[in-house]
């Protein structure tokens, strides 16, 4: 049976959102429902947003006409659609914003979206066109269009189709304030950011497993994992990385202490991977806060005051995503250098490209090229989206966040990083098998990681087709097989 995640506007985590993205059921917390009822009652005048969009109100226009034109007029997204997972995460995240009880929306607004999520009805939402400033207006409007029964496409067997949903929708007679509140926040950015932090945590843990394996393959000197040395500098991420990698190398006869200083891709692992953890920790705080924050405008304060502020602006998450991109790229980059080292006979002391009798065989030569190409691609995606801004909406929205671009870039980097780590693990497993031929044993954690690789991929003897191995280990990485398992990607 599928797990149910309760949305209460206060405790949503990136991991819970990842479960919803992957299909978990959702429900609204009772207290949150009560808060929503209260805040909606405080709005009083449903035309609280009367000052906005005067052109919608010219002539004899019914309330329904205005709301409909408002929602449809914001359906201006372009480009290829978001994945179902990102769309579901965005839907749930927006409900959680409404559940804060600061937006003046009735619970029915949440119910309409939860109903779609629980019926597995996913709107087709174009992935481009939001600057993440007055929020992710366009993508959220494409979602609301379906929820409100204003047409639009949904996913069916992997295809975008138009379906009559009349019998399935929760009837939704939106006020103008509600229509605005359902789209007025950088929530698609936040949802992508949440999936990104969830994945990043898995990949940084995976990177530690890959590091331990590589340490054994290159017979690393463990002085670089000296806890005392790292504590003397004081960055917590580095200390923790050293502790955990050390633990995985327990029992290793391949690694030693105080033999010789290793090159940076080995020796400086705690500095690089550790700083990635330190950044991720901060990013998780920002993203979790955003998931449970009142990302809307105008806001209904507890005493019923309506406040026009800028809570929709995506800057906090945009900067966090740009920073995360940079450290993830560094993790990929240093992993590639370890792959280079392992496949380089003169540097590793192992056969070139990790296959005996190379010459007729090229072994894992190309795996390193693939890693290099992916790392280079990550560098491109690391360009900080949030440093750009283009004025929009008649001088009014004159500084925007570009958060969705930052978040989409982060997701792209995570896919590349997963494949780079898969290559490091594949090369590491191959290298460890070669080392163990000499009867020297590996660290227990490293050995275990090698065994996980071997569940899906056999040891290379002669050349074979490489890509199925890359895909197989890539799947293991995404499934969390090197990170304590469990849970969707």
């Amino acid at each position: 049976m599928l797990e149910t995640v309760i949305l209460d506007g206060r405790t949503l985590t990136p991991t819970a959102l990842a479960k919803i993205a992957a299909g978990a059921r959702v429900a609204l917390d009772d207290d949150a429902r009560a808060r929503m009822v209260r805040s909606a009652a405080q709005v009083g005048d449903p035309a609280v947003v009367r000052g906005k969009w005067p052109f919608l109100r010219e002539g004899e226009r019914s309330h329904e006409e205005v709301v409909r034109a408002f929602v449809l007029g914001h359906c201006a997204g372009v480009g290829e659609p978001f994945s179902i997972g990102v769309t579901r995460a965005s839907m749930a995240a927006r409900v959680n914003v409404l559940a804060t009880g600061s937006t003046g929306c009735r619970p029915v607004c949440a119910d309409a979206i939860l109903n779609l999520l629980n019926l597995d009805i996913t709107p087709v939402v174009p992935s481009k066109g939001s600057v993440g400033a007055a929020g992710d207006l366009a993508p959220l409007a494409h979602i609301l269009r379906v929820a409100a029964g204003f047409g639009g496409k949904i996913w069916q067997s992997g295809r975008p189709v138009v379906v009559d949903l009349t019998d399935k929708l929760v009837p939704l007679d939106l006020t103008e304030k509600e229509a605005l509140s359902m789209i007025n926040g950088a929530t698609v950015t936040a949802a992508m950011a949440a999936l990104a932090t969830h994945r990043a945590e898995r990949l940084l843990t995976t990177a530690e497993a890959a590091v331990a394996l590589s340490f054994d393959v290159v017979r690393a000197d463990l002085h670089c994992l000296s806890i005392e040395a790292l504590e003397a500098r004081g960055h917590p991420g580095a200390v923790n990385v050293a502790r955990r990698v050390r633990a995985q190398l327990e029992g290793s006869e391949l690694c030693g202490e105080g033999r010789r200083p290793d090159p940076f891709s080995i020796r400086c692992t705690p500095a690089v991977l550790g700083s990635a953890w330190d950044v991720l920790e901060w990013v998780q705080v920002v993203v979790t806060r955003e998931l449970n924050g009142a990302c809307d405008n105008p806001l209904v304060l507890n005493d019923g005051t309506m406040v026009e502020a800028g809570n929709f602006h995506g800057a906090p998450v945009a900067s966090a995503m740009d920073q995360l991109k940079i450290v993830l790229t560094q993790v990929a980059s240093i992993a590639e250098r370890r792959i280079f080292r392992m496949t380089y006979g003169q540097l590793s002391g192992l056969p070139s490209f990790l296959v005996p009798g190379t010459g007729l065989n090229s072994g894992l030569m190309l795996a390193q090229y693939t890693a290099a190409s992916l790392v280079s691609e990550c560098k491109g995606f690391s360009h900080p989206a949030s440093v750009d801004s283009i004025p929009t909406v008649q001088h009014h929205e004159d500084h925007v966040s570009m958060g969705p671009i930052a978040a989409r870039g982060t997701l792209a980097i995570l896919e590349a990083l997963a494949d780079v780590l898969a290559i490091e693990l594949l090369c590491g497993a191959q290298g460890l098998d070669l080392q163990e031929d000499h009867g020297v044993s590996a660290g227990r954690g490293a050995s275990q990681s090698r065994d996980v690789v071997r569940q899906r991929v056999r040891r290379w003897q002669d050349d074979q087709v490489l890509s199925p191995d890359l895909r197989a280990v890539g799947s293991l990485v995404r499934e969390g097989a090197f990170a304590g398992g469990g849970g969707p990607w």
Partner: protein
């Protein structure tokens, strides 16, 4: 259309498009076949130990009887020469990520076939025949898009193709890659069986011949250059409509102005704009306006530089389309017994830099277009057009949100414009110590092209609303000859002069019309050919 003859010398961007998109047939030119046979005969002699080096030993030829990359130091026995190629195809099929779209894959196949037709690769004509048969019959291998550094060529992508083209004696389905035929996905082996195309057992050097060259980079770049050349014209048409809607000042387009700073692109752009606007009564209709903002006034300077950039990229790609990109090259006219010349023609740098420059050009095309959209939708800047271009008898938001969409696309382009070819990461035990990253550059160029086309679609949608608003105001207003044709075709695409209630759907309609070349075609039918890039 007549089948296109592959001779290694006369492939054009238009013929790439004709084959890759429109399915025009291909065949190997007779002279090219003869050249290929001669160079192949030399390789086969070398492979059978029939050639000696200065010391009287059997001649070592890279990749024929040596290992690859840094493994060139290892000599391969005569008996293993076919296995060497087969191993290359298998171990180098190292791509990851999403599958390349079928059109680009077809372009890559065509380009590889034409590079081999040059006759310097020492492979059998049968390899080109196979690629031609696959193109003609519609066998499209699955090629992962990520993982190539573009040096020594697009090894991984081309080896994924090679697994379908070649086989060994065991002929195992799981070692044959995968391919589509007649709308179904099969193993490479089964797809080729269904197509009735015999898979080849690799001859000497044929692994290299299959894989050494930046053909995936060039395939992306070639299609992007072709589309960019049309998009420049579409952008000029959009700019002309914005000139109309904003009542621009024509003096900025005067030929004498551009003769004083005679960039070829700027001169052509100004000339096209003048022709598009010829006869307009909206242009120059605001007597108090002496000059426009940059997004209108500097259109010839910006789009002119875009034109020059697109032309540079296209010229580079055109060279690559008709080049041997293999290593070693077999130069039969060379002196001495050793006709094999190891060099670096596979290196993707020229294509990578061209693609990066193309990206930059398209970024600016879109950036300028977005500023005109902003101006059209901003009441205080638009010479009294309705705010957000809201008009019509049904409630709508006009172009308020599409302008934001355009801004997002432009900003994304700026990130994608990061020059991939400026990066390099050493590979292959430091033997391949500078690589091109051309594949990434070219893939990103395709992304930027798609984004930029959407921005132009949004400008066309905004500008046509602006023009309609002017015409609502003054039914006697006359449009320029080109603008009028553009408005007519847009009215057809959009289903009349209706308000844009669901902008995404209208943008999609125009984007499709742009992809089909409808708008530029209609305009050229009305006023004759526009000056191309």
């Amino acid at each position: 259309m007549q089948p296109i003859s592959l001779d290694g010398a006369s492939l054009s961007l238009a013929s790439v498009v004709a084959v890759a998109r429109d399915g025009v047939l291909v065949q190997l030119d007779a002279d090219a076949r003869a050249r290929m046979e001669s160079s192949c005969a030399w390789v086969q002699r070398a492979a059978s130990g029939g050639l000696r080096d200065a010391e009287g030993r059997s001649l070592a030829v890279y990749g024929v009887n040596t290992g690859y990359g840094s493994l060139a130091r290892v000599r391969i026995g005569d008996a293993d020469i076919s296995r060497l190629s087969w191993n290359l195809l298998r171990s180098h099929a190292a791509g990851v990520g999403p599958i390349v779209d079928p059109v680009t894959t077809r372009a890559m196949m065509l380009l590889r076939a034409n590079a081999l037709a040059k006759g310097a690769s020492g492979c059998r004509p049968a390899l080109v025949d196979s690629l031609a048969a696959m193109l003609n019959r519609g066998v499209v291998p699955e090629v992962p898009s990520q993982g190539s550094c573009g040096s020594s060529g697009d090894l991984a992508p081309l080896c994924h193709l090679g697994l379908v083209v070649f086989r060994d004696d065991a002929d195992l389905a799981h070692e044959s890659g995968s391919a589509w035929i007649d709308g179904e996905r099969h193993s490479g082996r089964d797809a080729m069986k269904l197509a009735g195309i015999e898979r080849l057992i690799p001859g000497p050097k044929e692994g290299l011949a299959m894989s050494n060259g930046a053909q995936l980079s060039t395939a992306f770049a070639a299609l992007a250059c072709w589309d960019a050349a049309q998009l420049v014209l579409d952008a000029e048409i959009a700019a002309a409509l914005s000139f109309e809607a904003l009542c621009g000042v024509r003096r900025a387009l005067h030929p004498a102005v551009h003769a004083l700073r005679p960039y070829r692109g700027a001169i052509a752009c100004a000339s096209n704009l003048r022709r598009l606007l010829d006869g307009s009564t909206l242009v120059d209709s605001l007597p108090d306006k002496v000059q426009d903002a940059y997004s209108l006034r500097c259109t010839p300077q910006v789009l002119g530089a875009v034109r020059d950039g697109v032309r540079f990229a296209s010229d580079q790609v055109l060279v690559e389309l008709n080049s041997a990109t293999d290593n070693p090259l077999i130069l039969l006219d060379a002196e001495g017994d050793n006709k094999a010349y190891s060099a670096g023609l596979f290196h993707g740098e020229p294509v990578g830099m061209a693609a990066d420059h193309l990206k930059l050009a398209l970024c600016e095309l879109a950036a300028l277009s977005e500023r005109r959209i902003y101006r059209l939708t901003t009441g205080t800047l638009s010479a009294r057009l309705p705010p957000h271009l809201v008009r019509g008898d049904r409630p709508n938001m006009g172009m308020m949100v599409p302008q934001t969409s355009a801004a997002a696309l432009v900003s994304e382009n700026r990130s994608l414009a990061w020059p991939a070819s400026a990066d390099s990461i050493p590979t292959c035990e430091d033997q391949e110590d500078h690589v091109a990253m051309s594949t990434t550059a070219a893939r990103r160029a395709t992304d930027v092209l798609g984004n930029s086309r959407l921005v132009v679609a949004i400008e066309l949608l905004s500008a046509v609303h602006g023009v309609w608003a002017r015409q609502d105001e003054d039914p006697n207003a006359v449009l320029g000859a080109g603008s009028a044709a553009a408005v007519a075709v847009l009215e057809d695409v959009l289903g009349g002069r209706r308000p844009s209630v669901i902008p995404a759907e209208d943008i999609e309609r125009i984007d499709l019309a742009l992809r089909e070349g409808r708008i530029v075609r209609a305009v050229q039918q009305a006023i004759g050919p526009l000056e191309g890039v």
